[in-house]
Amino acid sequence: MMGDRPSPPRAMSSAATTAPSVDKVDGFSRKSVRKAKQKRSQSSSQFRSQGKPIELTPLPLLKDVPASEQPELFLKKLQQCCTVFDFMDTLSDLKMKEYKRSTLNELVDYVTVSRGYLTEQAYPEVVKMVSHNIFRTLPPSDSNEFDPEEDEPTLEASWPHLQLVYEFFIRFLESQEFQPSIAKKYIDQKFVLQLLELFDSEDPRERDYLKTVLHRIYGKFLGLRAFIRKQINNIFLRFVYETEHFNGVAELLEILGSIINGFALPLKAEHKQFLVKVLIPLHTVRSLSLFHAQLAYCIVQFLEKDPTLTEPVIRGLLKFWPKTCSQKEVMFLGELEEILDVIEPTQFVKIQEPLFKQISRCVSSPHFQVAERALYYWNNEYIMSLIEENSSVILPIMFASLYRISKEHWNPAIVALVYNVLKAFMEMNSTLFDELTATYKSDRQREKKKEKEREELWKKLEDLELKRGLRSDGIIPT
């Protein structure tokens, strides 16, 4: 079942034999070097599936029997397709695998073109066939530190069948004859829960199909909507606070993007809570880059629906602002610009102070990509107009950093950008600008003095602690 795991031993021994012992290559293999291996694939974790060869009795083609017999034959074919094959063993059951593939193909065509095939008895059989094939425990991930940007995803070995099952299921859901009122007996909460778990699949092709399936189910089964949202909530919370591992976050967010779009106004408390307590914390996850575009889209959707959410959203982003990861910082700045693009001036005023304190920190980042991304805001006409309207507040916040960078930043491109920004400020509000320039030095000194006072305060406090410690042993917890 597990033949195709990545094989460091092989790679290692070959390195050992080719390299002479004195001039050894060190073991710090680069990821890009390591990658030069065969594509990995894996089977689903099917417990106790190995065993005897599988025999299926070939059935006639649906088009070869009279229309009246077709529904009956359709059911039989569905039942046959419940049989699941082991694809990691590439040699076993070849004939039967091929037979199932062609049957599935036939079923896909059949549900697309036929009319009157969807009897009430067919619903449970369809759901059963789909469940048997797609629901499975996903196997352990091969690499603990799977880096989706560098590593090849592990592909699902049984894809030749799985793809057709998904294809069939989507055609079934989209079929004109499909009746949610009958199907809801079989496509229930338990079904949806298992479907959602599959979003963790490492195979991007599978996640893509799942996205469509879930989207159709959300659209057609009104009774499942709240449940689906809640379970997605749980998946995200677990992802953020427990495991930091879930492959299908981007896909789920994509679905949510379209769901948020359809929310009725005023927004329900449940939805606001989802925004503040789930979507915003998603920004803290290490692998943010994999779903950031979709996440930012969801956030902006919310703000377009209800502008009063701007303040909590921006405050949330500021709270989780990345401290060490510059790459993430650039993403945050990008998202913030998207938000500023749609912000209402009344909301902007509420949040401008903490916001520009952060922007001022970004502008003076020693990482030039961060500084550059922040300085690009001044190329955005709408943001410029907001800054201009509030220059008396923003300029004092930004001034010190800008002034300092214009003198100190190592990167000439940044210095040039900063000059432009300073120039813009000068044109905006020249009196304030002159004032700030004049007081720059004394302000810095005042800051230094304050810093010194702080230090002295703490020194005094520590002396006190020492004295007390001596006076009454044991009072200070250790």
């Binding site: 390299a19 352990p140 338990k190 007390r468």
Partner: protein
């Protein structure tokens, strides 16, 4: 306490609170970490009436600050006036226990657990237990999750009516509709069971356990397996079969590999908890299945437990069970397709020899050891070699030596330096077991080759290794086999190799004794003081300081001192520095304080750090010798 200090007025709370509100997160964090100092400055009274309310009200901050706060408050009892007032700490900790960030919440719960012990039984019921109830019925999942960790600390100390309430709350949380809460409850189930009266364990806990163990989410089910150990320990033997075993059997056959993994991982604990009879009838077949599981993760976890499981089998038919049930599975695992499985097995398989005795080991286990010694994966081989001592006791290592040697040689030249490092660390052990002749004949060259490895950590370990070998085989052996080679490297064109000579001398001088050090090593060291590379020269100074205590005072005065003085006026500032260090070290020594020589590893580290700094300079002045 509060009245005792007149300097309260010096520190108006506003100033201190300003510190806790500083705009800079780092400063805020520093202030919070010194919260006890602030509280001390305020005195107990004002800490209670002013500081704590402020902290409770302003809990919206970066998680890092909150984490520090949660931790501080756990140690605050004395600062608010002792156990009598400890309940004042509950409000801020309650807020912290509802925060989203898991780390903060866990820390808050930890602090709450800690201060719960400082509550009097009355306070516990009046203040603490209501807090637990509030958390348990909170709207957002975070507070309910936190509540799960608090039940067990207050349960033993409250009245029976309150106990009943607590049990009810726990029951509710076990069937919470948020999986996060169910996971929290499942992970505390064992702990909670331990504080319950046996009748309630049987009536309440078992049904919760059964429900959690068949939860729809495998992440909940696997936590129930953990609880299974505690629960089984609590129950009398005759109840296990009906109350626990059905669930355990089901877990061992769960369709999710994560649950089966957990069973495998906890297998030894489970085995002890259920006792010998159930082990024989149920766990042996279950273990066989886990060893043959379709997922490598499960097989590896089970393989890790092979030795412990066999050891703990009831002695009367242990051998028979192992030979007929376990060994066949083990044999298959030796040629498993997954390297983690093989390597897990290799780390414990040698332990079976002590259990099975000499004859069985030679007949059944030896072929397996030999197969693993030839495995393509270095970790497997390494794990075998690192456990040789178990076999040595039973059959002696010589049985293996023919296969051992190629394995060692290959590992010694592995491309990964960590593998090489690992094998070096086993050298002294191997040398002891194989004996000096075998060593000289086969392994000595390897040990010397490591000294010129291109990875510093390997050269360092090789040096340490030589020292241990000398300690084992004696100074005479060193003089004949190692010392000439080491000293020969002093003329190597590569300055790194010349430095290795010095490091070896540092390590070996003590074991070799005064005679060898003075007559053979010292001249070489002194000669190297003229080296053109500054790193070598300052290491000469360090070496002289190191071997000084071993030399006689005559050599020190007539030979070492002049050289150090010369080095002290070197052009390189690092050389000067270390020469002066050495000189002042000797002065101290002469005044009868014998400095304890630092161990060789610590020394080498500092060498490396400084060496790296001046190497940069060297690259400019001295072309890299080749």
């Amino acid at each position: 306490m509060a009245g005792a200090d007149g300097d309260d007025s010096l520190y108006p709370i506003a100033v201190l609170i300003d510190e806790l509100r500083n705009e800079d997160v780092q400063l805020r964090l520093n202030s919070i970490k010194k919260l006890s100092t602030i509280a001390l400055a305020l005195g107990v009274e004002r800490t209670r009436t002013e500081l704590l309310p402020f902290l409770t009200d302003t809990i919206y901050d970066e998680d890092e600050v909150l984490l520090a706060l949660a931790e501080q408050l756990g140690n605050f009892t004395m600062l608010v006036g002792g156990p009598e007032y400890v309940h004042c700490l509950l409000p801020p900790l309650e807020s912290l226990a509802t925060v989203e960030e898991t780390v903060v919440r866990d820390k808050a719960v930890e602090s709450l657990r800690k201060i719960s012990q400082e509550h009097s039984p009355v306070d516990l019921e009046v203040h603490f237990e209501p807090l637990v109830k509030r958390l348990a019925s909170g709207d957002w999942f975070t507070s309910r999750t936190s509540a799960c960790g608090l039940f067990s600390v207050c349960y033993p100390r409250v009245s029976s009516t309150v106990k009943a309430e607590i049990r009810q709350h726990f029951r509710t949380l076990c069937s919470d509709d948020t999986p996060m809460v169910r996971r929290a409850a499942a992970s505390k189930l064992g702990e909670f069971a331990k504080v319950l009266e046996l009748e309630y364990v049987k009536s309440d806990i078992i049904s919760l356990f059964t429900a959690l163990a068949s939860d729809e989410q495998d992440s909940v089910r696997l936590l129930a397996v953990e609880a299974c150990v505690s629960i089984a320990t609590l129950l009398p033997q005759e109840d296990l079969e009906t109350l626990v075993m059905p669930t355990l059997r089901q877990a061992a056959e769960d369709k999710s590999w994560r649950v089966r993994y957990m069973v495998a991982d906890k297998f030894s604990e489970l085995q002890k908890a259920v006792g010998p009879e159930i082990t024989k009838n149920d766990l042996v077949p279950a273990f066989q299945n886990l060893l043959k599981d379709c997922e490598a993760e499960v097989r590896a976890a089970a393989a890790n437990k092979v030795k412990e499981f066999c050891e703990n089998l009831p002695e009367d038919n242990r051998e028979q069970i192992i030979m007929t049930h376990i060994l066949p599975c083990v044999k298959e695992l030796v040629s498993d397709t997954n390297q983690h499985v093989k390597s897990a097995l290799a780390s414990v398989i040698m332990g079976l020899s002590t259990i099975l005795g000499k004859d069985n080991t030679i007949e059944h286990l030896l072929p397996l050891f030999l197969a693993q010694l030839k495995d393509e994966c270095p970790e497997v081989r390494l794990n075998i070699i690192s456990n040789l001592d178990c076999v040595n006791e039973v059959i002696g290592i010589r049985q293996l030596s023919q296969s051992l040697l190629p394995a060692i040689v290959e590992l010694a030249e592995d491309a990964k330096w960590r593998v090489r490092l690992a094998i070096i660390e086993y050298m002294p052990l191997l040398a002891g077991q194989l004996g000096v002749e075998f060593f000289d004949e086969k392994l000595n060259t390897l040990c010397m080759a490591w000294l010129i490895d291109h990875v510093y950590a390997i050269r360092e370990a090789a040096t340490c290794n030589l020292m241990k070998l000398v300690e084992k085989f004696g100074a005479e052996w060193a003089q004949n086999t190692i010392v000439p080679k080491v000293l020969g490297m002093a003329n190597d064109p590569n300055y790194l190799h010349r430095m290795t000579t010095l490091f070896c001398i540092n390590a070996l001088s003590k074991a070799c004794g005064q005679e060898i050090t003075t007559k053979q090593m010292l001249p070489v060291v002194l000669k190297m003081s003229n080296d053109q590379v500054a790193n070598v020269r300052f290491n000469v100074a360090k070496s002289l300081q190191k071997i000084g205590p071993i030399l006689d005072s005559n050599a020190l005065q007539t030979e070492v001192k002049p050289v150090l003085e010369k080095l002290a006026s070197d052009t390189d500032m690092d050389v000067k520095y270390f020469a002066q260090e050495a000189i002042s070290g000797f002065k101290e020594m002469m005044s009868c304080v014998i400095p304890h020589p630092p161990d060789c590893c610590a020394l080498s580290w500092s060498v490396m750090e400084r060496g790296q700094i001046s190497c940069k300079l060297l690259l400019i002045t001295v072309p890299h010798p080749n």
